[in-house]
C-alpha cells in the first residue's frame, strides 16, 4: 500500500469505497492526490467520498464493469498507448484478447455503461499516460456473477499497460475482513491446502497425508481407504448452507462467522440452518446465526490472543494478547485443538498415526502452530513468530528462514512464466430491473460499522454516530415516491422485504438504492440474490432488482 501511495502517478479505483471500507488506505490515497498530484480515476455508480479527490469520476451502471474496462482498453489500443515491450516479453494470448476488446467501441460501451464517450476517452488517457498506474478494487468488483471476469479484465488492463511487477502499479485487491488473506492462505478454502496447494493434486494430498499421519506408517499398516485425504473439491459456504437445507450436510462447525447476517437471501439461510441436524457455533457474541446453534462455544476477541494476521498486501503481522479472556471464554485455537482431540479420541477408523510429524493436536501456543504451517506451506516457509517479534517486516512469499519476503509480486516474471491475456465479454447481471421491481439495489458497508455489525453495534460511540441503518436514495426517486419529510421506506425484492430510514442523497444515481448489512432490524440480505459467480461462488450483492415504497403517511 505504501508503494502505491508513494510511487503511483495515476490510480484507478473501481468497486471500492476506499475511504469508508479501508479508511487508512483511503486517507493515504487522499494525501497522494493532495501532495503528489496523483491522477485518480474513480469508477463507481455512487458518488462516494473519494470522488472529491478524483480527476474523473465514471458512474457506470452497476454490473457493467467488463464493458467499461474493455472500452477503455480498446481506446488504449487505438491510440497505441499499450506497452508493446511488456506484451511481447512477458505475456501471451494478446491477439485473441485484442479481437475481443475491439468489439467494444466507445459508443457501444457508452450505451451499456451509461458513461459518456468523452469521459471514456479522458479516463483512458489518464490511465495510460501516467505511469506507473495502480488499480485498486474490492468487493464492488467481485460481488457479481461476473466477479471473476471483472478481476481478469483488470489484470488484462495492467498487462496491456505494462503496470505489473512495478512499485506503484499492479492490481491491488483490498480485502474485506482483516484476515481474509490469511484465511485463504491457510487453506480455509474447499479446493486448496495451505499455500494454495490443490486438493486435487495427488502430490499435495500425499504430502499432507504424510504430515498429518493419514498415510501408511512405517510398519506398513494401511489406513482405511475411505478416510484417506479427500481429493474431492469441497463445498463453498454458498453451497454448504443450502446443502444443509437439503439434508446433505448434517453438521456444521462455524467459527466466528455470521452467515445469517452476511450471506445472501437470509430467509433461505435461516431455513437451512434450522433444518441442519447439528450446528456448533464458536463466537464471541450470541450472533444472529447463534440462534440456530445447538452448541455455542465462547471464543475470544483479538485482544485476548496471540498469533498472526495477514493483511491485504500479504504482510504477516502479530496480534498480541493484551487482556485475559472474559469468563471461561478461550482462545479459538485452543478450542479447535481440544475439539479435534475429542473427536479423534472417540475411536474410529481414522485416528491418525501418532508418530507422523504433524499428526497431533498438542500445541502449547500459536508460535508452535506457525512452525507447522511453515513446514507445510512454501509461501510461509520462512515465517516465524520470532522473526516478526525481532521487527522483521515479512510479506509472503517468504521462502526460507533467511529470505526477506516479497513486497512486490511478479517482478520480472509471473509464477506461470508468462502472463496470459484472458479475453472477457460483458454479461448482464442475473436480475435486472423490470416493471415489478424497477430499481437496482446494491449493498455494502459504511465507515462506522463492520460486516454483520456484531462488534461495531456493541461499540457505544459508533452507535451514537451511526445508530440505525440508512438506505441511500436519489432525490429524484424520493420525489417520485412522495417522500417529503416522511423518510421511512420499504424495499421489496423477489426474496424478501426490509424497512429502513431513507437518506435522500445524490450519492446514488436515480434508479439505484444502496443499503448496508450491519443491522439485523434492517436486514439487507433478506433482499439480495443468491446468484453466484460460476467460478468464485461469490454472490451478486451489488445488483438485484427491488421496489421501493414509502411507509406510512397518506398515499
Amino acid at each position: 500500500m505504501d508503494d502505491v501511495a508513494d510511487y503511483a502517478r495515476a490510480m484507478l479505483i473501481i468497486g471500492s469505497n476506499t475511504t469508508e471500507q479501508h479508511p487508512v488506505f483511503g486517507a493515504m490515497i487522499r494525501q497522494a492526490v493532495l501532495k503528489r498530484g496523483v491522477k485518480l480515476v474513480l469508477a463507481d455508480p455512487r458518488r462516494i467520498d473519494i470522488a472529491e479527490f478524483a480527476a474523473l469520476h465514471l458512474r457506470q451502471r452497476p454490473g457493467t464493469d467488463v464493458a467499461l474496462i474493455n472500452g477503455l482498453m480498446r481506446i488504449i489500443l487505438e491510440k497505441g498507448w499499450e506497452d508493446q515491450k511488456f506484451i511481447e516479453q512477458r505475456t501471451e494470448g494478446f491477439e485473441e484478447f485484442r479481437t475481443t476488446v475491439m468489439q467494444y467501441p466507445p459508443e457501444k460501451v457508452a450505451e451499456i455503461t451509461g458513461v459518456p464517450t468523452a469521459s471514456l476517452h479522458k479516463a483512458a488517457e489518464i490511465l495510460a499516460t501516467n505511469k506507473p498506474m495502480a488499480v485498486m478494487w474490492a468487493m464492488g468488483i467481485t460481488q457479481h456473477i461476473v466477479g471473476v471476469r471483472n478481476v481478469m479484465d483488470l489484470a488484462n488492463l495492467q498487462m496491456l499497460l505494462g503496470n505489473m511487477g512495478v512499485p506503484g502499479g499492479g492490481v491491488n485487491p483490498l480485502r474485506g475482513q482483516n484476515n481474509v488473506q490469511g484465511a485463504c492462505d491457510m487453506g480455509g478454502l474447499p479446493n486448496v491446502y495451505p499455500g494454495y496447494q490443490p486438493v486435487t493434486d495427488a502430490a499435495a494430498r500425499e504430502k499432507f497425508a504424510k504430515a498429518w499421519g493419514l498415510a501408511k506408517d512405517e510398519g506398513g499398516r494401511m489406513k482405511d481407504e475411505s478416510f484417506a485425504l479427500s481429493g474431492k473439491v469441497g463445498m463453498t459456504v454458498t453451497e454448504m448452507i443450502p446443502a444443509a437445507g437439503e439434508g446433505k450436510v448434517k453438521a456444521l462447525y462455524i467459527l466466528g462467522e455470521d452467515p445469517v447476517m452476511s450471506d445472501p437471501d437470509t430467509n433461505h439461510i435461516r431455513h437451512c440452518l434450522e433444518a441442519c441436524d447439528f450446528v456448533v457455533v464458536q463466537e464471541i457474541f450470541p450472533s444472529e446465526t447463534a440462534q440456530y446453534a445447538d452448541v455455542l462455544l465462547p471464543g475470544v476477541t483479538f485482544a485476548e490472543k496471540t498469533g498472526t494476521f495477514t493483511n491485504t498486501e500479504r504482510r504477516i503481522q502479530m496480534c498480541r494478547k493484551a487482556i485475559e479472556p472474559e469468563g471461561e471464554a478461550r482462545e479459538d485455537w485452543w478450542i479447535t485443538a481440544e475439539l479435534a482431540k475429542r473427536v479423534l479420541a472417540g475411536g474410529n477408523l481414522q485416528s491418525p498415526i501418532s508418530d507422523a510429524p504433524y499428526a497431533g493436536w498438542n500445541y502449547e501456543n500459536t508460535a508452535e502452530i506457525m512452525k507447522e504451517i511453515a513446514a507445510l506451506t512454501p509461501s510461509y516457509a520462512g515465517v516465524s513468530h520470532e522473526r516478526i517479534e525481532k521487527g522483521e517486516r515479512l510479506q509472503w512469499p517468504v521462502k526460507g528462514a533467511d529470505h526477506p519476503g516479497t513486497p512486490i509480486l511478479h517482478v520480472g516474471a509471473f509464477p506461470r512464466g508468462k502472463g496470459k491475456f484472458a479475453p472477457v465479454e460483458h454479461l448482464p447481471p442475473a436480475e435486472l430491473p423490470d416493471d415489478d421491481y424497477p430499481m437496482i439495489l446494491s449493498t455494502g458497508r459504511v465507515l462506522y460499522h463492520w460486516h454483520g455489525g456484531e462488534m461495531t453495534r456493541r461499540a457505544k460511540g459508533l452507535m451514537e454516530i451511526y445508530g440505525q441503518s440508512l438506505v441511500e436514495l436519489n432525490p429524484e426517486d424520493a420525489e417520485r415516491l412522495g417522500l417529503n419529510g416522511n423518510r421511512r421506506v420499504r424495499i421489496t425484492s423477489r426474496r424478501g422485504a426490509m424497512e429502513a430510514e431513507a437518506w435522500v442523497t445524490d450519492r446514488v444515481p436515480p434508479g439505484m438504492v444502496y443499503a448496508n448489512f450491519h443491522f439485523p432490524e434492517a436486514p439487507a440480505n433478506e433482499l439480495t440474490i443468491a446468484a453466484l459467480d460460476p467460478v468464485s461462488k461469490i454472490p451478486e450483492y451489488k445488483v438485484c432488482a427491488v421496489r421501493v415504497e414509502r411507509v406510512g403517511g397518506n398515499q
Binding site: Q31, G176, M240, V295, W333, A359, T456, I538
Partner: protein, 367 residues
C-alpha cells in the same frame, strides 16, 4: 554526502537536508518541541526548539534549520532555558486546566516541558475555565479548548494525515481560536472521527473521550487491528484487564500514526456484557444423550443450558463423529473465519481435512 557538525560539543553526522532537530534526535539529543511532530509539516511557530548556533546573533528554531557542514550548536544553555520558560509561561497564561482527569494519568507533552523548565502560571491569570469543557458532541473526540496552546497540530493532522480539513484557526493574534469548520460541531464539519487530531494534540485540549478519566495504563501492547484488511497496528492500553484506550504506535509498518474510527475507538465490544462467557448447549442434548437420530431438531424451542467445557466438547465431538461416521465425511461442513488468526485458520483446515476427512471448508472471503 554526510555532513559533520557539532552539537553540545559532540561531533554529529547528519544527512544532507536534515534539520538540526532531526539530526539531534537521530543522535539521542532531546530538544523540546510543541508545534513540531515528525509526521506533520513544519510550521515553526512555538519556538520551544530554539538552539544557539555559533555565529548567529539570536537563537534559531531547530525544526526549520537545515544542518550545514561545520555548524556548532548548543541545545541547552541557561539562556535557552530562560527563554523556554518564558515561552511556556506565555502559553500557560492562556491555558486553563479544569482538573477533571484522573490524577494518575501520564503528563501531556506540554505538562512535561512545563515541569521540566519550572514554568509557573503568571500571577493574575485566571485558573478557571473560560470556555466550555467537553464542548463538542462527537462521541470519540473530547474537546476542551481551555487547554489549547494554538500549536495547530490538530489542524495539520486533520489536513495532512487524514485529508479532511475539519479544524482551522479562527480570529487573530491573542483572540485566535481553533474551530471546527464554520464554528460548527466536528461531525457537521465532516469529521470522520479518526482521532488523529486528538492523537497529535500535545496538551489534551483534544483527547479521546472514552478515555478522559481512565488514567495511566498498566501496560501497552502493540497489536494489529481486527477490522479491515489494511492491517493497521496500534497499542492497546490496558489497566486491570480492561482496554482503556488505543494509542498510535508511530512506527507501525502500514499506518504510522494513522488509524480510522473503528481501529482507534471500536474496541469496547471486547468488554460488552453480551460476551459469551461459558459454553452453552441446548437442553435437549443433555436430556437424551444416547439417542442418535430420533431427536427432532428442536434447537429453536430448546432452551440454552450453560455447561462446562468438558460437557460441551463431549457433546460436540460425539455429534460430529456421528455425522461423519454415519453419513460420511462430506456430511460435515466447516466454516472458518476471516476474523481469526492464521494459526486458527490453519487448525480449522486441519480439522476439516484430517479429523473429519472432508474438503467442505470455507470462510466468508466472498462476502
Amino acid at each position: 554526502m554526510p555532513i559533520t557538525l557539532t552539537i553540545n560539543d559532540r561531533p554529529i553526522e547528519a544527512v544532507a537536508g536534515q534539520t538540526i532537530l532531526e539530526a539531534a534526535r537521530a543522535n539521542g539529543i532531546v530538544i523540546p518541541t510543541l508545534c513540531y511532530h515528525p509526521a506533520l509539516p513544519i510550521v515553526g511557530s512555538c519556538r520551544l526548539c530554539i538552539v544557539e548556533v555559533e555565529g548567529a546573533r539570536t537563537p534559531q528554531a531547530a525544526c526549520g534549520l537545515v544542518a550545514r557542514e561545520g555548524m556548532i550548536v548548543r541545545t541547552e544553555t541557561p539562556a535557552l532555558a530562560r527563554d523556554r520558560r518564558t515561552i511556556l509561561e506565555l502559553l500557560l497564561a492562556n491555558y486553563r486546566d479544569a482538573e477533571y482527569t484522573a490524577a494518575d494519568r501520564d503528563d501531556t507533552e506540554f505538562e512535561h516541558w512545563v515541569k521540566l523548565y519550572g514554568a509557573q502560571c503568571p500571577p493574575g491569570s485566571t485558573p478557571r475555565p473560560q470556555r466550555k469543557v467537553n464542548s463538542d458532541p462527537n462521541p470519540f473526540v473530547w474537546v476542551d479548548m481551555n487547554k489549547c496552546i494554538l500549536c495547530t497540530r490538530c489542524v495539520r493532522a486533520c489536513a495532512d494525515v487524514q485529508g479532511r480539513f475539519v479544524w482551522r484557526p479562527n480570529g487573530r493574534g491573542a483572540r485566535t481560536d481553533i474551530v471546527a469548520g464554520l464554528e460548527t460541531t466536528m461531525l457537521e464539519a465532516r469529521c470522520e472521527s479518526c482521532g488523529a487530531c486528538a492523537a497529535f494534540c500535545p496538551t489534551g485540549a483534544l483527547d479521546n473521550k472514552m478515555s478522559v478519566d481512565a488514567g495511566k495504563p498498566d501496560k501497552k501492547v502493540t497489536t494489529t487491528c481486527a477490522y479491515c484488511g489494511v492491517g493497521c497496528q496500534f497499542d492497546l492500553n490496558v489497566k486491570g484487564n480492561r482496554i482503556i484506550r488505543v494509542t498510535s504506535t508511530p512506527n507501525a509498518p502500514v499506518n504510522g500514526m494513522r488509524l480510522c474510527v473503528k481501529g482507534r475507538y471500536g474496541y469496547d465490544f471486547a468488554h460488552h456484557p453480551d460476551r459469551l462467557k461459558r459454553p452453552r448447549v441446548r437442553k435437549y442434548l443433555l436430556e437424551t444423550p444416547n439417542s442418535k437420530h430420533q431427536i427432532p431438531k428442536s434447537s429453536l424451542q430448546s432452551e440454552w443450558v450453560e455447561v462446562d467445557w468438558d460437557t460441551a466438547f463431549d457433546i460436540t465431538a460425539r455429534k460430529l463423529r456421528e455425522a461423519r461416521d454415519t453419513f460420511g465425511p462430506d456430511s460435515v461442513g466447516v466454516l472458518t473465519s476471516a476474523k481469526c488468526l492464521n494459526e486458527e485458520n490453519y487448525l480449522m483446515n486441519k480439522f476439516a481435512r484430517q479429523v473429519i476427512g472432508t474438503n467442505n471448508i470455507d470462510h466468508c472471503a466472498r462476502l
